[in-house]
């Protein structure tokens, strides 16, 4: 009888549950924090990319609107070096031109955002125009000062 009473009783000692809970809660907190940081970084990037797409196409449409205005003016002329044609182009904002043999090259920039813009150029000669440039460029002017690096001399 004594032997049976001295047996270690079955059951879980105090503290095991607490240790287990702390471990599980720590694991879950870590996973939750990692998930949230990943999801929020992804969300920020997706939103920014979506906004950039909107900005790009808004600028693209605006550049096409300028092209439509230029072509509207050009449709009244057959000689694209005509003084009156160039004078009318002067009335358009942010539009520049250069005389080329047999016509005029017209160029303009449409800002996408504060870092980039769409640089467009069309060449009027003969019976119509040719788009010679339609690309995104950086809004920053490159520094004319060369970098102070060893040139091997």
């Amino acid at each position: 009888m004594n032997e049976s009473e001295n047996r270690r009783p079955l059951g879980i000692g105090a503290g095991y549950l607490s240790i287990m809970m702390i471990f599980v809660v720590l694991c879950m907190t870590m996973l939750a924090a990692l998930s949230y940081s990943s999801a929020s970084a992804e969300n920020r990037y997706s939103r920014r990319s979506g906004e950039y797409t909107q900005e790009y196409y808004a600028a693209d449409l605006e550049a096409k609107r300028v092209l439509a205005e230029i072509d509207g003016i050009a449709s009244d002329y057959s000689d694209y070096s005509d003084f009156m044609f160039l004078a009318e182009l002067d009335g358009l904002e942010n539009v520049g031109y250069t005389a080329i043999p047999g016509g005029t090259e017209i160029y303009w920039q449409t800002p996408i955002n504060d870092r980039q813009s769409i640089s467009s150029a069309v060449r009027y000669s003969g019976n119509g125009y040719t788009v010679t440039e339609w690309k995104t460029v950086s809004a920053y002017e490159p520094e004319s000062k060369p970098l102070n690096v060893w040139s091997g001399e």
């Binding site: 879980i12 996973l31 990943s38 992804e42 997706s46 119509g128 788009v131 010679t132 995104t136």
Partner: protein, 158 residues
């Protein structure tokens, strides 16, 4: 009588111990299930994250490069050559990785020795005609990102 009381006490102790053990095991199993569910949620979110920052970003990168160049051409399977003043950029895919290489004008242009820029499985460049190119890449979870883009040809007449 005394023996009976001791027996019944021992029996009730055993039942209590077994009950507490069962509760503990139940709690442990629940904890494991919860950790597994949390890990699976994390892996799903992480896979989405990987897709966004690899495959989707790769497609965006290539379309932005196409928009920013003077002219472009598709030269072979999944190889794009972008031309700008003074240099050419070759963007090509090899073993699920997208490489980029800058080549000065006058040098031979080849889709080799480029710098790895993105990891993107199933990257394909398809010429759709009408000056359009379709660029697509597949994410780890089988999600496909496709974007069309106009190829600048250096002269569109009107």
């Amino acid at each position: 009588m005394k023996m009976n009381r001791a027996d019944s006490r021992r029996f009730s102790d055993t039942i209590s111990s077994a009950g507490s053990m069962t509760l503990f095991l139940l709690f442990a199993v629940c904890c494991l299930i919860i950790i597994a569910a949390a890990a699976s949620a994390y892996s799903r979110i992480s896979s989405n994250y990987e897709d966004t920052f690899n495959s989707a970003a790769a497609v965006r990168y290539v379309t932005n490069k196409l928009r920013a160049c003077q002219s472009a051409e598709i030269a072979g399977e999944n190889v794009i050559i972008l031309s700008d003043e003074g240099y050419k950029t070759v963007i090509y895919e090899k073993d699920g990785t997208i490489y980029e290489r800058l080549v000065p004008d006058g040098r031979e242009v080849s889709a080799e020795d480029g710098e790895a820029v993105f990891r993107a499985d199933g990257y394909t460049v398809t010429d759709c005609g009408s000056g359009l190119v379709s660029i697509s890449a597949e994410g780890d979870g089988g999600r496909v990102f496709t974007a069309y883009c106009r190829i600048p040809e250096g002269g569109v007449s009107g």
